[in-house]
Amino acid sequence: MKKYIIIGNGVAAAGCIEGIRSVDRTGEITVISEENHPVYCRPLISYYLEGKTDPQRMLYRSPDFYEKNGCQVLYGERAVRLCKESKQVELADGSLHPYDALCIAAGSTPFVPPFAGLETVSRKYSFMTLDNALALEKGITPESRVLIVGAGLIGLKCAEGICGRVASVTVCDLAGRVLSSILDDECAALMQRHLEQKGMEFALGDSAARFEDGRAYMQSGRIIDFDVLVLAVGVRPNISLIKEAGGDTGRGIVIDSCMRTSLPDIYAAGDCAEGMDASSGQQRVLAIWPNAYMQGYTAGQNMAGSHAAFDKAIPMNSIGFFGLHAMTAGSYEGDMYEEKTETSIKRLFTKDDLLKGFILIGCKERAGIYTSMIREKTPVSSVNFELLKKTASTTAFSPDIRRKKFGGVV
């Protein structure tokens, strides 16, 4: 009977378990979980603070998930070393656990820049885990003035989650715009205006030079007083286990389209891994939930002896703030088609007869039709793109493709 070990217990691990079980019903699966929670929906922690969900509903799978899948979960345990020769994982308590196939789904860790005086700030929080969110919830009151460092996805979701529960929220970022990893200047400005209308304040293109407890002295000279500080600057993939074992790493653990690392019988998936971005053709960390699941699933299938590949990973995000949705996917390169109103922007990017990427703010209908064109590399010349660029509609596809899609005729 095969022995599988999964390091990590997030969505990539859940995908890995389901991937293994799609091939092997009986092998032993051991999950090493630093967090003392069964797999939960990490991106929902801001929705929890907003009152839209609770820890019970945030469970990703049913309460009998591990039992049903014959998994042993070691909660509160941390893997500290891989012995690749003897194929064992060493935990912090010194115990050794043998594997036939191993998956590193260890996620990432919040990165905290060395701000001067940060240690003097008494109420400071990260915003990555359910425990972080529960701690932050305890730390805020209706009178709290909150300063969030980082105007990316995590920082802004945190801001949305708490803004109804505190006196004020100010978000600062070294970048000159919000959501700088997924929006360009003009799209970011539209979202920022919307957030400002909802009461958020911003200090962009600015960073803290030093902190005192309750006060940030910004590079610009501005002084921001706060009661609660949230650090959401960014994350670093957890790559040390593989790196120390001599495996290939870049920003993340380097994987191929089968989720294999450079070390034998060791796979990696999720936020700690660095795979191919099918939209740009470049190797990069794609730290998003859907890719984590699919990478985990593929790793699991292959750990159990299958020959599966996942080569359609692209960056994509659907993220709403106070009712205004931004959907983005792929890479923003090539020719741009644009439609704009006061409250919406659509930008589609085409190059080499392919749709490479898009940004849609306030116009979300049937966006998946665009996303699938990027994933599937559908030639723009094979569809009625004049029609498609105005409206995401399958009527732009040829009758044969439509019949196949909707008539079940293959």
Partner: protein, 146 residues
């Protein structure tokens, strides 16, 4: 498994499927009471091109990308039917971002709803197919989905 299929040559573009869908999922027994004078949020919609029209609803894919991408664990498969647990959905619309058919749209509260083949409502089988006046929508077995 029986699924919903459309024949675009026969679709009249009458949108009756949208009304039948909204009514079947309203939980009410009187169609006028359920729909009259209200915006409707059906789980099927008619796509209209220059010379064609046809209805689009969930394909209940064998390998559903929406389920794999759902960040809330709300979408799942039950006996081949893709279902949404509205109690878990937070309305992030990741499923809308990935559905290649453009088959998904949220309800009036921004929470996802979707075609579940009317198996759980009073209709018992897809109301869109049952009420289509020209048999452009059918509910039948045609082998595996994509």
């Amino acid at each position: 498994m029986k699924r919903v299929f459309v024949n675009e040559e026969w679709c009249l573009g009458c949108h009756l499927c949208e009304y039948n869908c909204a009514f079947a999922n309203s939980g009410l027994s009187d169609m006028a009471l359920a729909l009259k004078g209200k915006p409707i949020f059906p789980r099927i919609h008619v796509e209209e091109g220059e010379k064609i029209s046809y209805a689009v609803s969930c394909r209940h894919c064998e390998d559903p990308i929406c389920v794999r991408c759902c960040i809330a664990g709300a979408l799942h498969k039950e006996d081949g039917v893709i279902c949404v647990d509205q109690n878990k959905c937070v309305g992030c619309l990741t499923c809308v971002l990935v559905c290649p058919y453009g088959a998904l749209a949220p309800n009036e509260d921004g929470i996802m709803q979707k075609c579940e083949l009317c198996l759980q409502n009073a209709c018992g089988e897809p109301a869109c197919a049952a009420g289509c006046p020209n048999n452009a929508i059918v509910y039948e077995e045609r082998g595996a989905a994509e």
